[in-house]
Each structure stands twice: as C-alpha cells, then as structure tokens.
Symmetry: C2
C-alpha cells in the first residue's frame, strides 16, 4: 500500500514531516467526485460513524419515547470534550432511561478538552465514565436498550441487540459487508468494523440526502444531522474542529472525527459524502485533508474561507508564540486555499 | 522520498495505521552497521542533540566554575517532565549563575509529565518557564554565558556566542555543515539545524567513544554521558522511555528523544551511534524504531529484553484496560523481539 503524501509539515524553509493518506468524495449514486490513494481498502472509522450508530436510537422511536432533546441526540453522535455541559447532558440522558453513570461500559478518561481537564484537576476530582468522550454515544445505546425492553447489561458487546442494530445501520447505509474479518474492539469497548473509504463517503452522502434509504431511516438521518447543526458545541467542544466548522457553515456541513486519523463529512446541499484516513493515524493530517476537501467543494466566501484555511493549513507557533512553520497541502491536495 | 514502512499499528487482526521512517547505526569511523530509508537527507534533530549542545557548558569549564552538580549537567541534556525535581534543579542552576526564571527565553508550557501537570493544576498554579521541558538546557546556556562573561540577553538567538558554540559543537562532532539553508526555529525559540541521520549516528558514536574528538571535548562528552547515566530521571521523567531505558541499561545505552519523531542513541561499549526519524513525526513510531535497534545490537537478557520489548512493541489497551491491539515492527525492522 502506498498512498500519496497529502500533507507536509514545514519548519522554516524545510519539510520536517510528511503525512500520507487516502480520501474519497462520493455522491448518493456512488459516483466518485474525487479520490486519492487506496479507497477500497477497509479502514476502521472509529468515532467517525457515530451518526450512523445513532440511527437506531432515533428511527426506533426510542428517542421520542424517552423524550430526548435534540441536544441529547447530538451528544449521541459526539466525541465530546468532557466539559460540564457534555457531562450533564449525558447524565440527563441516562436519567431518562432510569440509569446512571454506573451503567456506562466506556471506561473513564480525563476530558479531551484542555480547559475541562484542568478544571476537573483543580477541583480535586478524577474523571468518571461521563467524562469519556464517548459517554453520549453510550448513553444513547442505553436509551435504545431501555426503550426497546432489552436487558442493558452487555450492551457494548457485538452480540447484544444494540450493537447488532448499530452494525446493521452501518452496513445498510454504506453498503459494506461487516464480517468477523473486519471487526475489532474500539477504545470505548464496543465493536468497530473496518469499512472502505469509498463506502464511508457513499454512506454519508446517503445519510445527508436520504437517497436510497427507507423513509423512516431517511427521516432519522435528517433529524440527527439537524440536531447536530443546531447544537454544534455538543459534537466536540469549544475550539475543536468539528464544532468550529459546523458553527461556521451550519447545516451546509456535517463533519465528524475518528481516532487514528479518520474524518467523515457530508455536504448535504451538494449531496456529497467525504471520508479520509491518514496512513499514520495523525489527527492533524486528517483534519487538514478534510478541511481541504470541504473547501474545494463548498462555495466558501472570504472570512469563512480564511477560518477554514486556518484548519486546513494551520500556522505552527512555538511556546513564545513565534511562527516557526505550518502545515500545507501536498500532492493531490495541492492547490488554492481551502 | 519514500522511506519504508517500519512500524505497524494493529487493531484486532488488521493493520490500522502505518509509520514510515529511516534510521542509521554508524560507528566512530563512519562505517554503517545498519541503515534503512533515506539517511543522507537532513532532518531536524530537535531535542535529540541536547547532549551535543551542552558540550560547551562542560568543556569550557563553565560547569565547574559554577559548581554544577552531575544531576544539573544531566538536566542540561533533558526534555524533562516538569516534575518538582526538574523544576527545582533548573532553578538551582539559574541561581548559581545569579539569575532566575525571568531570564529563561524558552516560554512556558504545562508539564509534559501527566502527574506533574495534574499536580500543578490541582495546586491552582499555572506553568512557568521552569516547567518547560527545555528549561534545563536553557539554564545550561545561561550558565555558559554567565561563566564566559557574555551578556546573557538574547542567548537564544543564532548570532549569540552561546548558540554559535552549540552549533559549532554539533558541526564538529557530526561532521555536518550547518548553513542557513538548514536552520529553523525550535519550539523553545533557539535555532535548530537539520542534520542527516547518518551524521547524527556518526556524531553519537564519536560522543560515546571520544574517537576523533579533541581530548577536552572527549572528556566533556564522557562526563555528560556519565552524568545522565547516574541520574536517568533527570533526562526525561518517571515512566518515560529515555529514563526507563537508561535505568534498565545504565551506561550501556544513552538515548534521547526529539520532537517530530526523532531519536538519537549511543551504545558506548559497542562504539555505535544510532539515529532514527519517523516520516510523519510520530513519537510512538520513533520510540519503537530506536527500541528495536537497541535490542538488535545490545546483548539483552530475559527480563531486560521483555522490558525493552514493551517499548518496541507496546500492547494497546482501551479505557477498560482491554488489549485491543499493539505496535509491531515491519519491513526492515521485522524480526525477533527487541
């Protein structure tokens, strides 16, 4: 496998580091609008498919049965910063299912958000599973189990009806077959299934347009994307790419990160889905790639273009704030500002 | 440039991410014992040359004039965790030069060490330049300036005698010409000069053996390596690779990380220098590479081999402690356990 160099990290006048990667932009008919690198090799999307994994929660009627708010539905798709608003929202979802943090199987880690993490340290507390960036998704799984009358115990296991429903949604929307051979365990203990970038992009085009989906599923997809667009701070957190880009472009862009250098996105008005993976797993490279692709397809005006460019080709500053270099697009992504 | 894949990140039964890189193992005569990838392309060694940058401090007599301890000399070569012992040692060095933290030009950042960072947060404090992982090196620069009768102001600038001396030491020991074309600014605001991996490995072989160096410089090199071997906790910190490996092997191994995926090392008894760079700048890949090379050349017994292997091919665990995958050697590094 030899994907092209797509992002260069420059220090002074020299390239210090290089990232290789692959990406696909696909419409809901499966037509490829742009591709680079190997897009038919399955990659683990990790958290980049949380919006697909949350389809059963909404389309089953569970979200309505438990009166989940739109912000709570947004949090079910999130890799959040562990800020107080995220923690409180996850706790509220669990309470609606008659549960609490003890039911979460995701494990605990310090908040992803630097501010949230420092604040928690200062308070003398240690993190709970509610601070886990996946706690909203797990709370959503538990809400689905509760409203469906399933025993919640073991909801993170591949054989549990919750995970079977999530897997079936990914399979149907992306068209990829998810067998044992592409299954591994994610950071939060649920199964993760490797899916080719072409299929991920196709799936996000279908999620954004509803094309080819059953009416009930298409309606759920529309509602999920609208919920995230209305509460962009829920999906990630202040200062983070996913939140900032969705705040900038509203319902024009849905974008979601996954660990090990994955990004998926949708441009609903254009009917396009996007998926990228950095070979080496670097988030900085995946972010630069997806920002470049969004900028290439979306009609972006002056100030928004500059903001997007600050993510696509960020300036690197040292501890004294001196600009010492930056990231730049290379190879198939070389071109004008995002 | 196309360096080989040297480290694979595995999740379940599949490769999730891949790191490319280059590396060289060279003796003090310049003979290459092992090489893979492009080893004649200059790369920024960043903090991996701190031991070379600290030669002037020792060989000039400045360290003795200011009665620096061996632990303080070790800290001058460190990328430390910002733990209390590191902060106190840097402050003591500055005091011996009649200065304090206000003279440090490195800027402030939260301690690299997780424990140190959390402890500082809990205390309600914010980081000072003493917590910067480079504060020992900067304190060493200031000690050199003070003992030499140079105005300390601007000591971080390329034209200052301190940086000219550091550059001259790197040039002489590695044999690489360091012109404007390979100069950029490091994270701590001093100049960093790109050097080919072959020359870095050659330089560390000479540093470790003294071969080809003037007696005064050879003696300083010997003293610096002995100082680090005697205080391995100074060079990095508890739980970190450099400290753990030097604790494990004592004076048999000197190893030092640099930002953006660089490692340099020396095996003094074998007369070998080692240098690696991960193309993408990933520390996890550079660490796996240098651990694999150390394990290949050094005679390592059972328990030490297992400990080294835990760095060369670490198991990846998720937030519940479940083993979900790991790193493994690939391509030219494929082979038996480190």
């Amino acid at each position: 496998m030899s994907n092209p160099i797509v992002v260069e990290v420059v220090r002074g006048a020299r390239v210090e580091s290089r990232h290789r990667g692959a990406g696909a932009v696909v419409d809901a008919d499966g037509a490829v609008a742009l591709a680079f690198g190997e897009i038919d090799e399955p990659v683990f999307p990790r958290s980049a498919v949380k919006a697909l994994q949350s389809l059963p929660l909404v389309e089953s009627g569970a979200a309505d049965a438990l009166r989940l708010s739109e912000a709570e539905i947004a949090l079910a798709c999130a890799s959040h910063s562990g800020a107080p608003a995220h923690v409180e929202t996850a706790a509220a979802m669990l309470a609606k299912a008659g549960l609490d943090a003890a039911s979460l199987a995701c494990g605990a880690h310090w908040p992803l958000g630097e501010d949230a993490s420092r604040t928690l340290s200062r308070s003398g507390q240690t993190p709970s599973p509610l601070h886990n960036n996946c706690s909203g998704k797990h709370a959503g799984f538990l809400c689905l189990a509760c409203a469906s009358g399933w025993d919640a115990k073991g909801y993170e296991q591949a054989a549990h009806p919750v995970q079977r429903a999530a897997k079936a949604a990914i399979e149907e929307v992306t068209g990829a077959a998810l067998g044992e051979d592409v299954c591994a365990t994610d950071g939060c203990s649920i199964p993760t299934y490797a899916v080719p970038l072409r299929a991920l992009a196709f799936g996000y085009a279908r999620l954004a347009t509803g094309a080819g989906l059953a009416p009930r599923r298409a309606a759920a997809a529309k509602r999920i994307l609208a919920a995230v667009a209305a509460s962009p701070a829920m999906i990630a957190g202040e200062g983070r790419f996913d939140t900032e880009v969705m705040r900038l472009f509203g319902p024009q862009v849905f974008v979601k990160t996954g660990a090990e250098g994955v990004y998926c996105a949708a441009l609903p008005e254009l009917g396009l889905g996007l998926a990228v993976k950095a070979d080496d797993g670097a988030t900085r490279a995946a972010q630069a790639m997806i920002a470049a692709l969004i900028g290439r397809f979306l009609s972006v005006d002056g100030e928004s273009r500059a903001h997007l460019e600050s993510f696509a080709a960020p300036v690197l500053r040292n501890w004294n704030g001196i600009a010492v270099g930056g990231l730049r697009r290379a190879g198939p992504l070389r071109g004008p500002p995002a």
